[in-house]
């Protein structure tokens, strides 16, 4: 009985949080790798349905930050609250947050010993405990959505980079997450494959998914981002709407970086 009432209370609380509060809250987040201070007090709030683009030079901590949000990296100071759950050493909380957040990696990280379909259904079967038919049906719908249903029974090694990354997106979506994290999803791709992945991401953004995207694809940012954050040396240097960032950047470092990546 206690559990039930507790869950009910939780649900009500969750509804309230989605209505009034941001779905991701990061307060003064710090992270060290040995003596290297990788994140130096990051503050960020992301609301449901928002698309946030994070960019900046390599080593600026943007990937590290996005990886602290599902605790692939542990933050050492500050507070991170995802969907009303605070990330701490509590393993149950970590697993709950990971169920609600999907992640797409630069190097795809598909499971090479499983077929495309098995890659996508694995987590729904073992974590969500769905029936096999249900998991496969949803997996096929997702493959349809990312445009490669005919590859379902191939192994990842038989697909092109762009196809692999689209499978990785489908795999993350299969858990029906509330938030999608993208860690440089197009950086390892050949130019002609970048577009097919970005198209899928744009469609996803327009469907109302909450997305945090670390990327240098400024076309993507212009098309769908609500807000952009410029990271440098483990800090947020500047943030704003794409329009503000591209046409009136306030900081010198932002101007310099944008001029470097936009004119080459």
């Amino acid at each position: 009985m206690e559990n039930v009432t507790h869950d009910l209370a939780n649900n009500v609380a969750n509804k309230e949080t989605t209505a009034n509060h941001p779905i991701i809250i990061a307060r003064d987040v710090h992270k060290w790798f040995g003596h290297f201070h990788a994140l130096r007090g990051i503050n960020m709030e992301v609301h449901k349905g928002e698309v946030v683009v994070i960019f900046g030079p390599s080593g600026s901590g943007k990937s590290t930050f996005i990886r602290t949000l599902n605790r692939l990296e542990e933050h050492q100071r500050g507070q991170i609250i995802v969907d009303g759950i605070e990330l701490s050493h509590d393993v149950r909380n970590i697993e709950r947050v990971r169920m609600e957040t999907g992640m797409v990696f630069q190097s795809f990280n598909l499971f090479p010993h499983l077929t495309v379909l098995q890659n996508i259904t694995l987590a729904p079967l073992w974590v969500r405990k769905w029936k096999k038919e249900q998991a496969e049906e949803i997996a096929m719908q997702l493959l349809e959505r990312v445009g490669i249903p005919e590859q379902a029974h191939k192994f990842p090694g038989q697909l092109s980079g762009g196809q692999q990354q689209r499978v990785a997106i489908a795999r993350a979506l299969a858990m029906q997450p509330k938030i999608m994290l993208f860690d440089e999803p197009t950086s390892a791709l050949d130019p002609e494959m970048i577009k097919e992945v970005l198209d899928v991401m744009i469609e996803l953004a327009r469907s109302g998914m909450t997305m945090l995207v670390v990327t240098h694809e400024m076309g993507f940012a212009k098309a769908v981002a609500h807000r952009m954050y410029f990271f440098d040396s483990g800090q947020i240097v500047e943030s704003g709407t794409p329009d503000e960032i591209f046409t009136h950047p306030k900081e010198e470092r932002t101007k310099l970086f944008l001029s470097q990546i936009l004119t080459h």
Binding site: N70, L72, E95, R98, M99, T101, G102, M103, F105, S107, N109, L110, F111, P112, H113, L114, T115, L122, A123, W126, V127, F155, P156, G157, Q158, R171, A172, M175
Partner: protein, 402 residues
Amino acid sequence: MTTTYSKANILPPPSESSTLWGWARKNLFKTWYDTLLTFFILGVLYALIRPFIAWAIGKAQWEVVQVNFRLLMVGQYPAAETWRAWLCLYLLAGILGLSLGVWARQKPWLSAILLLSPVLLVFYPDLSSEARNRLLGLALTALLAFAFGRWRGARLGRAAVILWVLYFPAVLIIIRGGGLLENLAPAVPTSLWGGLMLTFLLTVVGILFSFPLGVLLALGRRSSLPAARWVSITYIEVIRGVPLVTILFMSSVMVPLFLPSGVRPDRVLRAMIGITLFTAAYLAENVRGGLQAIPRGQFEAAHALGLSGFHTMALIILPQALRTVIPVIMGLFIALFKDTSLVATIGLLELLGISRSILAQPQYVSFQREVYLFISLIYWIFSYGMSYASRRLETRLGVGER
């Protein structure tokens, strides 16, 4: 227009003459010193092998093997119970035939020849008619299973795997007898087990038990729990620092000292435990190598999907790690098969032990060459068989890696 253009440019690969003479000219007689080297090596081979062949066909007296054949195969296992060893062979023929039918679909004639090989032994002159019939039955069983496997195809794949998994425990139960089977197959004490049969049983038990233990030790060595890590490291490093013979002596001489008087565990069982513990330590190190070869991204992707640590290991990491170490593990198992001969030093009568006890009899003292050559051939046949099977397994499981 473009299609005809590109079609015109697709050429067949240049053909290479594959006649025997063409091959020889390319590989053996390309230059004058190649030719010289070829003839020199042929001469050396002839000089080395000729006396051996002459001895094997002319002077060697193979009666010693013939007379003691039963001893070499099953040791002192009671004659009335030998049918159980045959039963195990029949089961093996059936499962092997079925597996080849299901999986080896490319060259059926090759499988058929392999399965018919027992028939060749029928032409051996001094064979009892009973043994002859049994050998024919063996080939027939294998062929029938092969045909069934080919007919039903991949649908039987899962069944074949399950049969293989059940086969080895079943063999142990059949040979041991007793328990619920007492009326049908009375218990045979392990002191009567011997010959090639005991060699096989030691190998099978060693593989069956060292595999899970080795995997656990490998996981323990990489565990984040200090207790598990230190226990695993200590175990692995202690065992790897001691020769197998020493472990076998320890298990046969020292273990009884630690046990209350009157409790004397079975000698074969003690040897099996020694072999298992020894192999597990090496297996753990091999598996650890496989685990280290898995990129960090695989762990991260699994964690990001919300998989627990256990599921990540069991579903993502171990299947990949074990696949990469199949060749090393099979090498380890082949070594284990040959190392079982060391139990002869603690007085067990497996293939080598029984050979030495045969040769200790006055009438056979002068037949060392024949007996040792014969058992070498047996060791070679099975070692090569395992090695061949492992290569096939590798290519089969390589799917998806490409």
